[in-house]
């Protein structure tokens, strides 16, 4: 078994127009900048992007928005300092937005990856974000029923990887990357150090069963 690929372009090649794509990262940490640039070069459009932040500046998710590749963003935090491309596209009605509380976003992705049909969370109960959703009260606590959130693809960033697809991460670059590997049908990772030899089985954070391909990309942002 060897899941290593030679290029970022090969890693994003299967992504199609209209695909749903999870993108790992939070702030500057754990964002797969190399794979995002390769995805822009590849040309896929009308993407549904599932990610925590809608990008800032001119790189990463912001660049996908700038290049008009995104039909919809599902995220918890679209409004960051410098998220001008998201704001521009949103105000022009060029991109749809689904705001999901951050913990619910992670848990919905996990539910998809873990084969669950949904879950009850207290998060958002009684708020605007629960409108139209099934709710119930158990022992005096209100809960909202949330559905799994799967995706066709995930593009991720990791610190180390091996040919079996096992991944480990650096510091707070872990964030959404492991759960997105689990929740997507096809996960690919750019990895700072990619080895032919195996990671120590105790150090693996994301087992390779959740990862379909990976490629070395040594640049740290």
């Amino acid at each position: 078994m060897d899941k290593r690929l030679d290029s970022l372009a090969a890693a994003v090649a299967p992504i199609k127009d209209g695909s749903s794509v999870m993108i790992g990262g939070f702030g500057s940490a754990g964002i797969p900048f190399g794979l995002i640039d390769a995805l822009i070069a590849q040309g896929a459009r009308d993407l549904t992007i599932i990610t925590n932040n809608a990008g800032a500046g001119e790189t990463g998710v912001a660049r996908l928005l700038k290049e008009n590749r995104v039909a919809k963003v599902v995220c918890s935090y679209p409004r960051s300092p410098g998220s001008i491309w998201f704001e521009r596209r949103f105000e022009a009605g060029q991109v749809a937005l689904e705001v999901v509380p951050q913990g619910t976003l992670a848990e919905r992705i996990r539910a998809a990856g873990a084969g669950l049909g949904g879950f009850l969370t207290p998060t958002g109960y009684g708020t605007l974000l629960a409108e139209g959703k099934e709710t119930r009260v158990i022992d005096g606590v209100g809960y909202v029923m949330e559905a799994p959130l799967p995706a066709d693809f995930a593009i991720l960033r990791a610190e180390r990887g091996d040919r079996w697809g096992n991944l480990s991460f650096h510091a707070t670059a872990r964030n959404f990357n492991p759960v997105m590997a689990m929740g997507s049908k096809h996960a690919t990772a750019e990895v700072r150090h990619l080895s032919a030899g195996p990671l120590d089985p105790e150090d693996v954070v994301t087992p390779g069963i959740f990862v379909q391909s990976l490629v070395e990309y040594a640049v740290r942002p």
Binding site: A29, P101, Q102, G103, T172, R174, P221
Partner: protein, 211 residues
């Protein structure tokens, strides 16, 4: 009347946080609380993006672009810290494992309702982040805010007018003018900022203040 500065509010909050607490500091001003922990207390900070044991800002030149807090500032890891992924991070919040959260607010109501994620301006895409998860899971929610908004309008209200973050979740509010507990019957004064008088505070509060 000498309203408390942000640093003074932060210090006042820090004084209320017991030794050994697990604490989440919301993005923005609440992060200042960490600089004011009284001597001899160990407080462990959780950042929603996957670290517990968040330490102070690193010296210039030693920043690690992949070691940040929820405000996206460079941080360090204190001894005893741990890194983890997002589901575990939010299990800590939602599951009641974190003792205290300090959050900013647009509005707080006398029934403990909190509004801190969206205004009524519909052209402004709302950003909820982790606030809704924090308020449902953390047993003690402390709010750090100005007593009034930039236009001078009260932020302590009978009922919130902005979209809610959580229902009946706030325990205590620390403003530049006063510290107030949220009780079953509404706001109760804990203390006034030095030189502030109760009538002056009541004049900029759109709810009753019990004493």
């Amino acid at each position: 009347m000498t309203p408390r500065t942000d640093a003074q509010i932060a210090a006042r909050i820090a004084a209320d946080i017991p030794d050994g607490s697990y604490v989440n500091l919301g993005i923005g001003k609440p992060t200042h609380v960490a600089s004011h922990v009284p001597e001899g207390r160990e407080v462990i900070y959780h950042s929603e993006n996957g670290i517990i044991g968040t330490g102070p800002t690193p010296p210039e030149g030693e920043e690690d672009v992949e070691l940040i807090d929820a405000s996206k500032r460079y941080v360090t890891a204190n001894p005893g810290a741990a890194f983890f992924e997002h589901c575990d991070s939010f299990a800590m919040m939602r599951g009641g494992h974190i003792d205290i959260a300090v959050l900013g607010a647009y509005q707080v109501a006398e029934n403990g309702d909190l509004a801190n994620w969206a205004t009524l301006d519909e052209t402004f895409p709302p950003a909820v982040g982790g606030a809704m998860d924090l308020v449902v899971g953390v047993p003690t929610i402390l709010v750090m805010m100005k007593h009034t908004d930039r236009a001078g309008a009260p932020k302590l209200l009978e009922r919130c007018t902005y979209p809610l973050t959580g229902l009946g979740v706030v325990s205590r509010v620390y403003t530049d003018l006063a510290v107030l507990d949220v009780m079953a019957d509404g706001f109760r004064l804990v203390e006034l900022s030095p030189g502030c008088d109760l009538d002056g505070v009541r004049a900029v509060t759109a709810a009753r203040i019990h004493t």
